[in-house]
Amino acid sequence: MTALFTILFDGVAYGMLLFVLACGLAVTLGLMNFVNLAHGAFAMAGGYVCAVLVNQSGWPFFAALPLAFVASALIGVVLERALYRHLYTRSHLDQVLFSIGLVFMSVAAVDYIMGSSRIFIKLPAALEGQIDFFGVGIGRYRLMIIVICGLLTAALQLVLARTRFGSRLRAAVDDPRAASGLGINVPQVFAFTFAFGCGLAGLGGALSAEILGLDPYFPLKFMIYFLIVVTVGGSSSITGPFLASLLLGIGDVAGKYYVPKVGPFVIYTIMIVILIWRPNGLFGRTATR
């Protein structure tokens, strides 16, 4: 019984992490209809920035996390202004090729600068070990992830649903022409959203170094997971991808625990079945563009 709770807990932490990593992609892929396979590269960038700051410059972990966010967001905004925005109207094939090219470049560049082995981020002592909670062992690090990601999710939902910026974004996505006719600076809204999504990915990358492992092949290894979250979750709201990541996280952890031999097989099968059954995602609108 306690094993079940531990799995559930680990799965939720894993799922939350996936959500923070992938929710930027939910905006670019789901809302802006841009196939960005290079999303994991931004996460990797954040992870490495955090690792360098903590391990080599001796920054405290919690101070390095915001920096990971800022660094990835900066890279995101530069790339968006310089490259991505030219491709919004291109065919999906062009977008796929372009982002695969970026992935290859980022993998080789990080390999060149940081070496190809997996790196670890030194954690503060307060985050190590477990707390005993009614007989269930709860990892402190995972608890922190759940808290941070939970707060972020709530904040995102509030921003999207309640603020002026949220309504501008939703308008820009629904109909860019009408939105710009109403005086909304659509490219600016998109650029800001893109950068924010990249920043979240960077933060996720920094947090995930402990759990998922951080090496130069990160963008390739987890690309499929991010894509699953977005395509299965649908793109109509932030709730869809959130539930999809939780499902994926719990499913993956449980799968690895109970049927370790089957491996990632189950996840891929479920994904294909869901996509066949509902091409627009489990929680998607019935008709998307």
């Binding site: 090219g101 993998v107 990632p264 097989f265």
Partner: protein, 343 residues
């Protein structure tokens, strides 16, 4: 001239062999004499060309974007490897066909999944199928040899006459012959009414359906055929290298393949062939520059190609050949111009 006769006239005129095509194949054959010490890499190029030809059939002619074409390559590779390893079918040409048919069978089954949904779903499903097969191959390591791959494959002489030699000379001619035969078949198919209907589907599926083209059946057919081609390419890989490991399913293989086709241009069959030559030369060049990090440059090439625009690049590349042709044949430029791609 009535309209159907007119269409038939143009279709036949396009299907006629152009002298530049004949020159291309003579050049390919003469490479064997020009570079007698480079058989291995030339075989590699021929295999890649066949694989790219297979992707061109679905991407260039039917407009299906696939991120997991390595799935069929892998099935062909393991198929041929297992057939040879267990001595089920020792004759290479027959084993090649059987491996190709196995890939075609999987292609047929998965085509029903692929034709549903839009671009994005197709991307995900094709990618998912390739990953699934990779996971399966890893799982059933008692059959596939797991991460070590199939070891100890020994190939019998082709047709019982030509034994594979260590310099890869026989392998090269064998691969080139297979490529040529399959190219002829593909050429016949894309110039047939069937091929023309595929182009109609690619340009506008709705309109194609409205004029009576059975869209889904045509897509299933071409997807199965492309899987067959990819399977043959994979089988050739195993037969000429006596190797089959998990990386035949790898995502990088599918991604590289896209680059090959994009370099060469889609939708005129020679794209994959020319692309394979250019890609391998680029790869050689980049790995001599920075051995470990050649992927960086490959990625850069992809990004630049997309940003500059594929149509524009091909116009530039074809400017000189077309100029020459125009001068020689007095007015009409006839080197194949790649069509614009699927959106």
């Amino acid at each position: 001239m009535t309209a159907p006769a007119d269409v038939g006239y143009h279709a036949r005129r396009h299907a006629r062999w152009h002298w530049s095509e004949i020159a291309f194949w003579i050049l390919a054959l003469s490479c064997a004499l020009l570079f007698p010490s480079r058989f291995l890499i030339m075989t590699d190029i021929v295999r890649l060309a066949l694989f790219a030809l297979s992707l061109d059939l679905i991407l260039g002619y039917a407009g299906i974007v696939s991120l997991g074409h390595a799935a069929f390559f892998g099935i062909g590779a393991y198929g041929a490897g297992l057939l040879a390893l267990h001595g089920i079918i020792t004759e290479p040409v027959l084993a090649l066909l059987v491996a190709g048919l196995a890939a075609a069978a999987i292609g047929f089954l998965t085509s029903f999944l692929v034709i549903r949904g839009v671009d994005l779903t197709r991307l995900m499903v094709t990618l998912g199928i390739a990953l699934l097969l990779e996971a399966l191959a890893e799982r059933f390591s008692d059959i596939t040899g797991g991460t070590d791959g199939l070891q100890g494959i020994e190939m019998q002489p082709i047709l019982g006459l030509f034994a594979f030699d260590m310099f890869g000379k026989v392998g090269f001619f064998y691969s080139l012959a297979v490529l040529f035969v399959l190219f002829l078949l593909a050429r016949r198919i894309v110039h047939s009414p069937f091929g023309l209907s595929l182009r109609a589907i690619k340009n506008n599926p709705l309109r194609a359906a409205a004029i009576g083209v059975p869209v889904n059946r045509r897509l299933i057919a071409i997807y199965t055929l492309a899987a067959f081609y990819a399977g043959i390419a994979g089988a050739l890989f195993t037969q000429t290298t006596a190797l089959a490991s998990l990386d035949v399913f790898a995502f990088e293989r599918s991604a590289d393949l896209m680059l090959v086709l994009v370099i060469g241009g889609t939708g005129y069959l020679y794209g994959g062939l020319i692309g394979a030559v250019v890609f391998k030369m680029l790869q050689e060049f980049f790995s001599s520059l920075t051995p470990q990090y050649w992927q960086f440059w490959i990625g850069l090439v992809l990004v630049v190609i997309v940003l500059v625009g594929r149509e524009r690049l091909h116009r530039w590349a074809l400017w000189l050949p077309n100029l020459v042709v125009r001068q020689l044949s007095g007015g009409k430029a006839a080197i194949a111009i790649p069509e614009s791609d699927a959106s």
